[in-house]
């Protein structure tokens, strides 16, 4: 691609150069459009250090786009009783993380709904996407819980959950392996 660009630019044909520039701009514009429009699952680039340090000490640094702002707000208000553990933080950190979650919370299509208990794994879209995963797979020693996104989603740390980046967890039965391929 860059080779083609260089070639056409080196010819220094002015109209061609502007066409290439225009095409590049259009491409860039198209590429950035979905990210800007749906504030989806991709991890934002400006993750506060406190988020990776505090939240990701116990679980994956979930992309904020996986829950709506109201859910995040409730979670940040109840950190001393956080899904069975005390995850309380200094007020400064609560504020910093809360503000960032608010800015990057999910606003697109299905993430607008608040899931029960503000659990990502109870969202309708999550359950639909994982409907073929047998309950026994979640409790495999190699998986342990549905919070362990990265066991199967190799790009989870970067907020990539595409089906292409999947990896089978260790210990699947033959039938479960067959189901995996479907």
């Amino acid at each position: 691609m860059s080779f083609v660009l260089n070639l056409s630019l080196s010819r220094a044909a002015k109209p061609l150069r502007s066409t290439v520039a225009l095409a590049t701009l259009t491409l860039l514009g198209l590429a950035s459009l979905p990210a800007a429009a749906d504030r989806g699952r991709e991890m934002s680039q400006n993750v506060p250090k406190s988020y990776s340090q505090e939240c990701a000490a116990c679980h994956l640094a979930y992309p904020p786009g996986l829950l709506p702002a109201t859910s995040w707000q409730r979670i940040m208000k109840g950190l001393d009783h956080h899904y069975g553990t005390d995850a309380s933080l200094e007020p400064v950190q609560v504020q910093e993380i809360g503000r960032w979650l608010d800015t990057h919370a999910g606003t697109y299509k299905r993430v607008r709904e608040m899931p029960p208990e503000d659990r990502i794994t109870r969202s309708a879209w999550f359950e639909r996407k994982h409907r073929k995963v047998e309950p026994a797979v979640w409790t495999l020693p190699s998986v342990k819980s549905a919070a362990q996104c990265a066991v199967c989603h190799t790009g989870a740390e970067q907020g990539r959950f595409d089906d292409d980046d999947l990896r089978q967890p260790a210990g699947l039965s033959a039938a479960q392996k067959r189901a995996w391929r479907d």
């Binding site: 116990c58 679980h59 005390d86 309380s88 342990k144 819980s145 919070a147 362990q148």
Partner: protein, 153 residues
């Protein structure tokens, strides 16, 4: 007439400007080592210093046997410390609900463990509440740290 007057005015100003930054730099560099030192004191200590902190507060030495007992037993709740950190925390632990890997707690297996006072305080506060439904006393903290520090691979 004009020129010497200007020169007279300018000269002292220029001289002042030239030594002020120098003085500022000298002052700064004189205090810099102290700033650096106080920062490193604030974050990096040794596990032994952390133990000493709780021993001083409790007014008695840490008891490793009592520490092991506290760590490995349940205290009326579903989790013990070992539920996440393992019975002998020389190896990686695993978060009891999320399954996330937790680095070893014993300093012999993890050079970073028990070296940051703020982290030590934060995790003891939270985890004691999870396991004992209350904060741990200084004596209990001294016991657990004494045991953790005594662990050898």
């Amino acid at each position: 007439m004009k020129t010497p007057a200007l020169a007279q005015v300018r000269f002292p100003v220029q001289r002042q400007r030239s030594w002020r930054p120098l003085l500022r730099m000298a002052l700064l560099s004189a205090f810099m080592p102290f700033v650096g030192l106080s920062q490193s004191w604030a974050t990096d200590t040794t596990p032994a210093q952390q133990l000493q902190r709780f021993v001083t507060e409790a007014g008695r030495p840490g008891n490793a046997v009592a520490g092991e007992r506290l760590f490995t037993r349940q205290h009326g709740n579903e989790w013990s410390c070992a539920s996440c950190h393992g019975e002998r925390p020389l190896a990686n632990g695993r978060h009891a609900s999320t399954g996330k890997t937790i680095p070893p707690l014993a300093p012999a297996a993890n050079a970073k463990s028990l070296t940051d006072p703020a982290k030590v305080d934060k995790w003891l506060r939270r985890n004691c509440k999870d396991v004992l439904s209350r904060e741990c006393s200084a004596a209990e903290k001294a016991d657990v740290l004494a045991w953790l520090i005594s662990l050898k691979p």
